[in-house]
């Protein structure tokens, strides 16, 4: 049987489908007046611990909700429940390769369980991974990345996609600096090489150092602070 092969021009972004859902999420956040942070890091950099400090400090100042995507279990969500805030756990597909990041659709499914209009700030704890989450927009306003001093100075150069995509970088576990040979100035130079514009704060989710700066940054982003209202 004769078969002819024809070339068809497509020119379609591989992540278009994800980006369209991210845009729909974003519209839902905007309608609810919710500011959304996508919190990313390698596993164990301190996302959940820092969240605990943040919730303590911002209690009564901001209505915060959390979407947890970090684990297959509900351990992280359980750690946050004591704060009496809305927390939803999104289990990333446990099938192979599925658990390395949150995508816009997973976040979309989690949103049904959150009272968005009663949330000023939604923090999405992404899956611990320095590559995959950077590719997938979920509808966030800002991307915050945690890099801990136990991970080494070379991380920005090894994972430039993630470091470049961040709007703020938190350098965590600085309480351990005296015990490590981590070269902080070199880390900051490497960070400058891939992302010269993002602000960075040195923090410790153990001692609370720098958490105040981070919370002030969050408060400055409170709903509508950076947005134009429909009447503008």
């Amino acid at each position: 049987m004769e078969r002819t092969v024809a070339k068809t021009l497509v020119v379609e972004g591989v992540l278009n489908a994800n980006d369209a859902i991210a845009q729909a999420n974003r519209e839902q956040f905007d309608r609810a007046g919710t500011y959304v942070i996508n919190l990313m890091s390698s596993p164990g950099a301190g996302k959940t611990t820092l969240l605990e400090h943040t919730l303590e400090r911002l209690d009564g100042k901001l209505r915060i909700g959390v979407l947890e995507g970090d684990v297959q279990t509900t351990v992280d969500a359980d750690r946050l429940l004591r704060f009496g805030i809305p927390v939803v756990q999104v289990n990333t597909d446990p099938g192979f390769g599925g658990a390395c990041h949150l995508d816009a659709n997973m976040v979309h499914h989690g949103l049904g369980a959150l009272p968005l209009p009663a949330i000023d700030l939604l923090i999405i704890e992404n899956v611990g991974n320095l590559v995959c989450p950077a590719e997938f927009k979920v509808g966030e306003d800002s991307r915050v990345m945690i890099s801990s001093v136990t991970e080494g100075e070379d991380k920005p150069l090894k994972y430039p996609l993630m470091f470049r995509s961040a709007d703020l970088i938190l350098v965590n576990k600085v309480d351990l600096l005296p015990h490590l040979d981590f070269d902080l100035p070199q880390f900051l130079r490497n960070l400058d090489a891939v992302n010269p514009t993002a602000p960075r704060f040195l923090v410790s989710a153990r001692t609370g150092q720098g958490v105040e700066d981070w919370c002030a940054w969050l408060l400055a982003r409170r709903p509508n602070a950076g947005r134009t209202s429909p009447t503008d």
Binding site: V5, L9, V10, G97, E135, F136, P196, T197
Partner: protein, 119 residues
């Protein structure tokens, strides 16, 4: 392993455009600034394409070098290492104009309908 998610999207795009025809080749543009490992992507693509109309299709990956326009002096520079820096004035603030692509450019499709295997 985001190559797997990326491969899934590529197969989905290819099968949608193929509308039942067999896909024999997928041409992809991947910018240097994407952290896509070609061998991992090819491997994932073969895995995901299995059982769809893109089964057995070859995946051509065209790597696109990065370049940017300086916000300070307007010069365009090839960017082949970090820091991304203007080669004319040394400025670090650049508008990236190439290197961030992740695009299905074109497909080669067999015109004979195969009907049953759309994915």
């Amino acid at each position: 392993m985001h190559e797997l998610s990326i491969a899934t999207s590529i197969v989905e795009i290819a099968c949608r455009h193929a509308a039942g025809r067999r896909v024999t080749r997928v041409q992809l543009k991947v910018g240097y600034l994407r952290q896509v490992v070609p061998s991992a992507l090819t491997f994932s693509f073969e895995l995901v394409a299995d059982g769809t109309s893109a089964q057995g299709a070859s995946l051509d990956i065209e790597a696109v070098p990065a370049s940017g326009i300086c916000l300070q002096c307007g010069a365009q520079s090839a960017l082949d290492a970090f820091p991304l820096q203007c080669s004319a004035c040394g400025g670090f603030l650049l508008r990236i104009v190439a290197g961030e692509e992740l695009i299905v450019e074109s497909l080669e499709l067999e015109e004979q309908e195969i009907g049953t295997h759309s994915g």
